[in-house]
């Protein structure tokens, strides 16, 4: 696995806000089928890091490479087109629309009614939704129900499903388990494992060491804008990670 070209490589990335150095000379890589946890205390730079990777902030210095090729993102849309999908904590779902409509929001498939009248192809959206969700082992019966009818973990699955359908190779997930109850957290962990099995790269931000140890391959710890350390999950312990986070 180490020999594969990294899906995502971040080289010496810095991002300043005026005099504030939110990120200073940070590097990390994500390989295909790898889950990398990004950990750190509040203000350590986790959010700045993902916003830079997902095209929200341009970097002050440093490079982002996708499959070995340097890329520059002009916007989050641009990053998405290049295969990086960010799933924020609030999931960004339109609650009143179906799973299919959410997957296709902004790029709805059209068909011609009676050969001339363009209409949204809801059947195609529902079918794609069913197939995509089945791929995440989430078997939906009511494809015409709005997503507000679904639970937190299921809605997370919809957000992930949208990324999967549009063939995101790298998923950035911001605190995906934070707002969920324990059974739902386990579902999300299962979802992340299935993304890993599909060869996608996942960057996973969490405060919850339990989840990080359950699902990640590697952990990158940020502290006050720098990479404080990087460990393989198999070779580290909770205590060591906490020490890295707080700088003990």
């Amino acid at each position: 696995m180490n020999s594969a070209t990294p899906l995502l490589e971040i080289r010496n990335l810095s991002r300043y806000f005026g005099a504030v150095k939110a990120l200073e000379d940070c590097s990390m890589i994500v390989r295909p089928g790898e889950v990398v946890a990004l950990a750190g205390d509040n203000g350590a730079g986790k959010t700045t890091m993902i916003k830079t990777i997902s095209g929200v902030y341009p970097p002050t210095a440093g490079e982002i490479l996708i499959e070995g090729k340097p890329v520059v993102f002009s916007s989050p849309q641009d990053a998405r087109e290049k295969g990086i999908e960010t799933i924020y904590q609030d999931l960004a779902l339109a609650d009143n629309l179906t799973i299919g409509a959410n997957i296709f929001l902004g790029r709805e498939p059209m068909k011609k009614l009676f050969g001339f009248l363009p209409v949204i192809d809801r059947k195609a959206m529902a079918e794609a939704a069913r197939a995509t969700m089945a791929q995440l082992d989430f078997h939906v019966k009511r494809l015409d129900a709005p997503v507000s009818n679904f639970s937190g973990g299921q809605r997370q699955a919809v957000a992930i499903g949208r990324a999967v359908y549009w063939n995101a190779r790298i998923l950035i997930m911001d605190e995906p388990t934070a707002a969920l109850g324990v059974p739902e957290q386990r579902k999300v962990v299962a979802l992340i494992k299935s993304l890993k099995a599909q060869g996608r790269g996942v960057v996973f931000i969490s405060h919850n060491l339990q989840d990080i140890f359950a699902v990640s391959d590697r952990i990158v710890v940020l502290r006050r804008g720098i990479v404080a350390g990087e460990r393989n999950i198999k070779e580290t312990t909770h205590d060591e990670v906490v020490k890295l986070m707080i700088g003990g």
Binding site: D95, N96, R186
Partner: protein
């Protein structure tokens, strides 16, 4: 499928997400809440039928004259309500529609008269309608730019335009009503085709087109998404600024058409044409099942909502009740309608708006 993977991922069955929990009771309650306008309408018809038979032994519902009158009565508020439906679903509101309608009525009358000097009357009529609708979209464009670019809250921006359109309309009308000197215009407003008023036919065609736009096009779909979660819509790549601009142009266009048809019906343009209709049109949308918080509503619901109001107004006159009771009855229906909406939200566990 666009995924590159053939084998389904292995997932521990104990922690796999289960099927959704949309249970049939919730679905039923939601359906009833959605159709509440039609239930109101049916109830009202029954009430007026019983009332009219009891008080003077005549029928209310079986008279085609009654239905023609109700339909004509409903035309103007319905046209405004169609535009308002789009705006309210997006989470906004357009308070300027009533006076944009008045402005359009005055412009239609002036332009039809002016053009009548230079061209055959039927063309002068069409010219008047066209210019009225075009002029009406100007305040719509300004509303849209204020709201989308300058982030003015819709309530305030359109309230300002309410005043501007009102003043402009009265100035153009010279403070009075402008009579239309064009018999074709009068024919459009009062003629019938196999007993169906032309006004009703024009409105019905317009309603069908707008129903298509809202329910079957991307514009309509994005409108619902923006109303529910503008942030999500933006992240999905929808150009919200352009959408909002089109939205307020559309509502102004509806008001413009309403004004032109008003000029046809009364063969006169009056600045105050739409003044009493603003609240009626919002009421029609709300009774029709839309939430003022955005994200829900439909054209067919609004049609039912507009009919509910028209039936109340016409029916109370028909059974000889003092007209002031109309306001009370419409007010009560609005409140009941919103209560049903709230109850349904609570029941379905959807987000509460405090």
């Amino acid at each position: 499928m666009t995924s590159s993977v053939d084998a389904p991922p292995k997932v521990d069955p104990h922690i796999a997400p289960q099927a959704d929990h949309a249970d049939p009771t919730k679905t039923l309650v939601a359906k009833v809440a959605q159709l509440r306008a039609w239930l109101f309408l049916a109830t009202l018809i029954v009430i007026f039928e019983v009332w009219s038979r009891a008080s003077f032994g005549g029928t209310f519902v079986l008279s085609s004259f009654n239905w023609q009158s109700i339909a004509i009565f409903a035309v103007a508020p319905l046209l405004l309500a169609i535009g308002q439906t789009f705006v309210i679903i997006s989470g906004g509101i357009d308070l300027s529609m009533g006076f944009i309608m008045g402005l359009a009525a005055v412009v239609a009358a002036h332009m039809a008269n002016l053009a009548g000097v230079y061209m055959p009357l039927p063309f002068a009529m069409l010219f008047g309608i066209l210019i009225a609708v075009l002029v009406a979209t100007v305040p719509g464009i300004i509303n849209g730019l204020l709201i989308s670019r300058l982030k003015v809250p819709p309530f305030i921006g359109t309230l300002g335009m309410f005043g501007v359109a009102r003043g402009t309309a009265f100035l153009l009308a010279g403070g009075t009503t402008v009579p239309v000197k064009n018999e074709y215009f009068a024919l459009l407003g009062n003629g019938r085709f196999f007993g169906i008023p032309y006004l009703v036919i024009v409105t019905a065609v317009f309603v069908l087109i707008m129903h298509y736009v809202l329910s079957q096009t991307r514009f309509g779909q994005h409108n619902y998404a923006i109303g529910a979660n503008a942030q999500a819509a933006r992240r999905a790549g929808i150009d919200i600024k352009a959408h909002i601009l089109k939205l307020y142009m559309l509502s102004a266009l509806c008001a413009g058409l309403g004004g032109a048809l008003y000029a046809a019906r009364f063969t006169a343009g009056a600045a105050q044409a739409g003044e009493p209709l603003l609240l009626d049109c919002v009421a029609a949308v709300v009774i029709g099942g839309a939430s003022l918080f955005g994200g829900s509503g439909s054209i067919l619901g609004t049609v039912a909502g507009a009919l509910v109001i028209a039936v109340i107004q016409y029916g109370l006159v028909f059974v000889n009740v003092e007209p002031f009771w109309q306001f009370i009855a419409v007010g009560v229906v609005i409140i009941i309608s919103v209560l049903i909406d709230q109850a349904q939200r609570r029941f379905s566990g959807a987000k509460q708006h405090e």
